[in-house]
């Protein structure tokens, strides 16, 4: 294999690409060719380096320096000074993984402080389109161990690790697998749920773009443990780059013999196929997802029977989130006891969050369970944008929950959050500053649900529409006090009678806002006043009596 003295990794996730990462890569290639360095320096794409919010980032090894943000006019200078002469440009460089560096603490370095990289370890340090780089970084090592120790061992390790599903509900993965493993059937399936449709969530995308092989390995292991031989990745159609990288990874896995017949001479067969979703929110619900793969209309099924015993084509099916599957290889490589050292009892391991909204640092972060929400916002997000006060945090997406200022010292893990009736959900943290109007936020969410309700059951189909109309009315200044009672009644009815999770969770944020921000709702109704000056009120219509 060729030896390069310097490796230059250009972050090429979809956000960086939209900011011109490809142009930077081409410019780097051209510059090093001009200076005749192309035989000494390797330029390669990689996943997110965590700086995409600032701009394009490049990492330079062996020095371990990240340059961010890199603009086209920086490139000739970096090539000439650093790559040719070894002089690090301190004004745009950050040292990888270090908090205090002599170059002066900049925001970018502190981002890592409370984070712990388990799932994101390879993201930004390997070329996602190269299977060999994945193998070098302990890739397919878990598979190797699994074939040596047998499927029982895999199942037991996953059960012992007490890994909980990262899709939102937090169901123990080991239990799910066990149901499928025990079910008797001619064929079983593994499905990777990559239909990341929750607004404000993009953690799976970063994983798929930066380390696609870890998901494929996780699926093979799930198949091996449960006896399934066929896998589907159900992915959002909008995730073009993820689809491209996953397809490439699957192709390479077939070429190298990690997929197909008789994998590594173990006698185990496994195939993976990618299914593109058409962008329906409800298809993230597991049974609607199954219908969609079967080629039917994406509507949820009646439960029970649950998918682990009767899923795709009425066969036992394991459905796991992308992040859950990515957790499997590190658990098997390092052992379940290692996994239990991370996080807190009841919620072991790390969790990916998409941090966004009114914070200074936005992006995908990996936090061990048990860190306080305040710490995440202040240490990783560098506080609320513009020095404003925090108003509320939406945790777990639009079907998640509102965390008010008073509850912000809660630790982020399943049990602590359950005490305040919340959960990590899909892993999105949307921080809202005091400038936001709660009625406006609820209206936006209600609009989303009205659009996304699949229409199968009446409470959800009609309920989402009525909720939107009432909230819209209030935001225009035409609300009555009775409207709030109506909203509450309707919400409770939807919670109790909706067919699937979509309708049951639609009223979550609405209901919480009604108790936690009652004054603000009343200000809109009684005083026709929006405390944050966002809602546009209609002029009061005077009744014209036709004579």
């Amino acid at each position: 294999m060729k030896f390069y003295r310097t490796h230059v990794l250009v972050a090429e996730d979809s956000k960086s690409l939209s900011k011109g990462a490809k142009e930077i890569e081409e410019l780097l290639l051209r510059e090093i060719r001009n200076l005749g360095l192309e035989k000494e320096i390797l330029i390669t794409p990689t996943g997110s380096l965590g700086y995409e919010d600032i701009g394009v980032a490049i990492a330079v090894y062996p020095e371990g320096i990240i340059y961010a943000p890199v603009t086209p006019k920086d490139v000739p200078l970096i090539v000439k000074e650093h790559f040719l002469k070894g002089r690090i440009l301190s004004n745009i460089s950050h040292e990888i993984g270090k908090k205090d560096v002599s170059l002066g603490i900049s925001k970018a370095e502190k981002v890592l402080s409370v984070q712990k990289k388990v799932l994101l370890r390879r993201v930004g340090s390997i070329n996602p389109e190269s299977i060999e780089e994945y193998i070098a970084e302990d890739g397919y090592l878990a598979l190797e161990k699994a074939f040596e120790n047998g499927s029982e061992w895999v199942l037991n390790e996953v059960k012992n690790s007490e890994l909980r599903g990262r899709g939102g509900a937090g169901f123990p993965t080991g239990k799910k697998w066990e149901f499928t493993a025990m079910a008797k059937s001619d064929v079983k399936f593994v499905i990777c749920n990559a239909d990341e449709g929750e607004p404000g969530t993009f953690k799976d995308r970063v994983l798929m773009e930066g380390d696609p092989h870890s998901i494929i390995e996780g699926m093979i292991l799930a198949g091996f443990a449960t006896g399934a031989t066929y896998g589907y990745i159900y992915i959002r159609g909008e995730y073009e780059l993820s689809i491209k990288r996953l397809s490439k990874a699957i192709e390479q896995a077939y070429d190298y013999g990690f997929l197909g017949k008789d994998i590594l001479g173990s006698g185990f067969d496994f195939d993976i196929e990618i299914k593109k979703g058409a962008g329906a929110y409800v298809c993230g619900e597991e049974t609607a997802l199954l219908e969609s793969i079967e080629g039917k209309r994406g509507e949820p099924r009646k439960k029970p029977p649950y998918p682990p015993t009767s899923g795709l084509f009425k066969r036992p099916t394991v459905i796991n989130n992308v992040e859950t599957l990515a957790n499997i290889p590190p658990i098997l490589v390092n052992g379940s006891n290692w996994f239990k050292q991370i996080g807190v009892p009841g919620s072991y391991g790390t969790k990916l969050f998409s941090l966004m909204g009114d914070v200074n640092y936005k992006g995908v972060i990996e936090i061990p369970f048990g860190v306080k929400l305040r710490e995440i916002i202040e240490e990783v997000g560098f506080g609320v944008k513009g020095g404003k006060n925090l108003k509320v945090v939406i945790l777990g997406g639009v079907s998640g929950s509102l965390i008010s200022k008073e509850e912000i010292d809660t630790e982020v893990d399943f049990n602590s959050l359950a005490k305040i009736e919340a959960g990590p959900g899909s892993g999105s943290i949307v921080v809202l500053s005091e400038d936001r109007c709660i009625v406006d936020v609820v209206k936006n969410i209600a609009y989303f649900f009205r659009h996304e309700s699949c229409g199968k059951c009446t409470p959800c189909r009609v309920g989402t529409d009525v909720i939107y109309r009432i909230v819209d009315n209030v935001s225009k200044g035409n609300g009555q006090r009775e409207d709030l009672v109506k909203l509450e009644k309707l919400s409770n009815a939807m919670k109790l009678t909706s067919f699937c999770g979509l309708g049951q969770t639609t009223p979550n944020i609405l209901l919480q806002s009604l108790t936690k921000f009652k004054e603000e709702w009343l200000a809109h109704i009684d005083e026709r006043k929006c405390p944050s000056n966002i809602c546009q009120f209609e002029p009061i219509k005077e009744e014209v009596i036709n004579e």
Partner: protein, 122 residues
């Protein structure tokens, strides 16, 4: 690429692939420092660097990092090459490309310091 048919083949491939990625991991047997200050470049350290790379490639030795450094204050001795092996950093002065090749062959790969050319030790 042929299919990997057994766990042993996979292990072999991983070893090879690891060698390629060593540059990124910071855990290597040997580090080579080349001083790339203005004086170093004028004295020809760039040719020395190319010779070292070529020799490493020829001998298929990858357990190494090459780090460019600024001048260490010994301008009369430029080009200066430092080799960090077995916990000792040895500096060679007035290194010509041919000498660099010998340093790679005997010191970097086999651990035999060429004492005639040594100017300093750390």
């Amino acid at each position: 690429m042929d299919k990997i048919k057994s766990i042993e083949d996979l292990r072999k491939l991983r070893e090879q692939a690891k060698a390629f990625l060593r540059t990124r991991q910071g855990e290597v047997k040997v580090k080579i420092y080349i001083s790339m200050g203005t004086v170093g470049i004028a004295a020809g350290s760039r040719d020395v660097l190319l010779a070292i790379l070529d020799e490493l490639q020829k001998r298929n030795f990858t357990d190494v990092q090459i780090i460019e450094r600024g001048s260490m204050g010994l301008d009369v001795e430029e080009p200066v090459v430092g080799v960090d092996r077995d916990g000792v950093v040895v500096y060679y002065g007035h290194v010509a490309p041919e000498m660099a090749r010998q340093i790679v062959a005997s010191h970097v790969i086999n651990g035999q310091i060429i004492s005639d050319w040594v100017i300093a030790k750390e």
